[in-house]
Amino acid sequence: MTRALPALLAFGVVAVPVAAGLLGTLLPAFGVLPAIGADGPSLDPWRRLFAEPGLPRATLLSLATGLGATVLSLLLVALFCAAAHGTRGVARAQALAAPILATPHAALAIGVLFLIAPSGLLLRLVSPWATGLDAPPDVATVNDAWGLALLLGLVVKETPYLLLMTLAALNQIPATRLVAVATSLGQPKPVAWLKVVFPLLYRQIRLPVLAVLAYSVGTVDVALILGPTTPPTLAPLLLRWATSPDLSLLLPASAGALLLLGVALTAIGAWLAAERAVAPLGRAWAASGLGTGAGALRAGATLLPFLLLLACAALVALVLWSVAGPWRFPDALPDRVQADTWTSQAAALATPAANSLSAALLATGLALALAVAALEARARHGAAALPWLLALTPLPLLLPQASFLLGLQTALLTLGLEGGLPAVVLVHLVFVLPYVLLSLSGPYAALDPRLPRVAACLGASPLRVFLAVKLPVLARPLLAVAAVGIAVSIAQYLATLLAGGGRFATLTTEAVTLAAGGDRRVLGVFAVAQAAIPLLAFGAALLLPALLWRDRAALRA
């Protein structure tokens, strides 16, 4: 039992809130919420839900933007990796993608807003000299009714993630040898990569792909910033009810959360069905020996670098607005650059920044401790440490957040826990721990087993082996994983809003609030501050080991 304790703890920290949240969603969806006098069971919440004008459209929009963003992101990554295999382009794309991965969804979405809005930077750059426009056109390039801007915002954020996951997975596949064999059989390189590497690779990145799908279907913050408004997608619509003064709306909101869960599961089911349908086609194509299409693949491969540059431009737009003086359309640059917005917002930034940091550090610290304990137990005790439990912890990443966070809010409230740092940290852990576990288990498994064995032979206790041998060797991945944890925590919008009861202000909740309108310079300041924390964390994770272990260059896990 004690051997399994770390795994049980890690699993419980994720599973208990999710289970409580799902239950807290399920009961009110059928009219049972005694706290507001609803004794159910009843189908009224569903009747109210389906009476909502625009619900069919909201549901379809969620499904379409979620599936669309996933297909496009995966397609862009596959095309690029196929064409760029073995070139320096891969390393360049990796270097560009890393900071974008670290940037929270909200900040990046705000940057995209600053770029592509009718009055955005892209149009300013070509106006009026090329377009003849001295006022922005009346065209909905953001918040459009079709969700295209939302789709772009999701693709810009998820493509770098899938790219980095793909590049990491490629390390475990003899891709270069496979491509060499296939090209020797007469296949052009990009075609060869798609035929022989992609099928192996896809198996490895399936979980991240499905996580992207579930996230995209249920996104709230990106949808609030870039998505359609009348009606919005499903998740923001539910949030509107869940934060309404009319508490009885919690019931249809819960029913809607279940509907959202159904939409996400439908999307995942459709995806898995499509896998089955595509696999034999792919096999037939691979076996056919047809080598055409390389030109089209190479053309398609240019999309990903273009997208990465767009994301970087979005970050530049954030910084520009944060230091802009008066800046009217169609000026491509502000009248003057000033620090006024930063100084005037310094006081307003202080509390949210402190809240963001404390939640991120606590959640990441706890997640690291739990993950290291569980992985250490697995290394020492093998099957007795219940490693299969650890494999289950990422499953909540396949659920849309609102499906269990809405119910969790009610549960936390009943326990008198919501509205403070502890509740926020607990709920952040649900998202931080799976990523920390996933990112740390590789380096832990790759640890040279001879090192602890030698130490043990020299008489060191298991604790000493852990402290004196394993931790120093693992310092580099531990720091990198800590940065991942911080980035995941900082990015949480819905989790912070609901667990914090709306009064735990972080840079993320403030930035999304400000994105509703208002002074773009202030919005720029909050978005830059929000993005700065994870970027600094990743920077520190890169620099610290080099500083700490200057004299031990060979020390690597």
């Binding site: 706290a35 009718p118 009346d138 408004t229 934060t243 003064p245 709306g502």
Partner: protein
């Protein structure tokens, strides 16, 4: 309307407690307040207001030893929901909301549920409020306030146009429709879930309703007949709005960005000094001009209220009183800071305090107070609620 949580009614049992606090001398309230932290839940969509709240926080700390924290809301309903949820979960004290910027349906919903403290009349500075000349300070959307909230700023619906593009602004709803048909896509209003969007519809309703006296009573069976001309007008207007009336800016400040970018020619504001304030802040071009409809425009007062389960009710009262102090009111009215008209009766102030309200340097952008025309009272809150629902059905369908 809001469903009354059954257990919320139990909170009425707290009423005697609140009454006892009324009997305390003010000096005792000040003593208790020292060292407390007040969470002021306030809509945070406007930077000028946020800056003003930050200034109030400095004053509260320096003068009364109170830590004032601005909890920034996207929608005031979030705070109302918080209080209702806490009471439903049995939390009768130690609540998250100490002070909330509130009016209209949100105020009615908390007042009806018996979830507000009665405190305004005992604030020393409340005696300075112009309850006669500015009846909106004691009647919010036709609902008697009865001390369950304290006013802190006056608001008036105004229109702001780019004077270069709109030399002759349309001063009634028929003219606005004709102007929009000639200038397609150059006007809109915030989405009606936003209070300013709802106010625009109410303003139009004042002009278009066959009988406007019904607006002061709850919207009952008369609703459909009263709003029919409004929808006929709106259906003609909507295709001519920005984005063909298929999308709407979320807030007033979002409209301001659009006017500044040149996407719109006319915007709405609840602050008669908005133009002056925003030109000075570089948020609007200097060519903007303010105008109001010929029949007058909707005016109301902004209030702060204290929920029965507030954690720091004493300090919240002190902050509410600070908001009513001549110094804070003068700062709020100063167009260099906020530009929100005062709720005080200047005749009741000491000469030194009255001097704080000296004629502000008002640019040509804004209207002087005497040119604002009559203030139309807010309709009963149920009109806002039902208009919002009906609008959503028309637009989202």
């Amino acid at each position: 309307m809001t469903a009354l949580p059954r257990r919320a009614l139990a909170a009425l049992a707290l009423a005697p407690l609140a009454a006892r606090a009324q009997d305390l001398p003010w000096s005792e309230t000040l003593r208790r307040a020292r060292g407390q932290t007040v969470a002021w839940h306030a809509w945070a969509g406007d930077e000028r207001t946020n800056a003003f709240i930050a200034w109030v926080a400095e004053q509260a700390a320096a003068r009364f030893g109170i830590t004032l924290r601005h909890v920034r809301l996207r929608d005031t309903a979030e705070a109302v929901q918080r209080v209702l949820a806490e009471i439903s979960a049995g939390r009768r004290a130690g609540g998250a909301v100490d002070l909330v910027w509130i009016n209209g349906p949100n105020f009615l919903s908390l007042k009806q549920a018996g979830l507000l403290r009665r405190f305004a009349e005992r604030l020393p500075n409340f005696a300075l409020v112009d309850t006669v000349g500015k009846p909106a300070t004691v009647t919010d959307f036709t609902i008697p306030v009865e001390g369950y909230a304290a006013p802190w700023r006056m608001a008036r619906l105004v229109f702001i146009a780019d004077g270069r593009r709109v030399p002759q602004p349309p001063r009634d709803m028929a003219a606005l429709l004709a102007w929009s048909q000639r200038n397609r896509g150059r006007f809109t209003h915030p989405g009606v879930r936003n209070f300013l969007g709802a106010t625009f519809l109410k303003q139009a309703l004042y002009e278009l309703a066959p009988d406007r006296t019904v607006l002061s009573r709850p919207a009952g069976a008369a609703f459909d007949a009263t709003v029919a001309p409004l929808w006929a007008w709106y259906d003609a207007l909507r295709p001519n709005l920005w984005r063909q009336g298929r999308a709407f800016p979320e807030t007033g400040p979002a409209m301001r960005n659009l006017l500044n970018d040149g996407e719109l020619d006319i915007m709405l504001s609840f602050n008669p000094a908005e133009a002056t304030v925003s030109v000075a802040a570089g948020l609007l071009p200097a060519t903007v001009r303010t105008f109001v409809p010929a029949i007058g425009s909707i005016g109301n007062a902004s209030f702060v209220a204290i929920p029965v389960n507030a954690s720091a009710p004493d300090a919240a009262e002190v902050v509410a009183d600070l908001l009513l102090s001549p110094e804070a009111q003068a700062r709020a009215e100063d167009p260099r800071h906020l530009g929100a008209p005062t709720v005080l009766d200047l005749a009741r102030l000491a000469p030194a305090d009255r001097a704080r309200f000296a004629a502000w340097p008002r640019g040509p952008e804004a209207l002087p107070p005497d040119a604002l025309g009559p203030a139309l009272p807010e309709p009963h809150p149920s009109w806002m609620t039902r208009l919002t629902e009906a609008w959503e059905r028309r637009v989202a369908a």
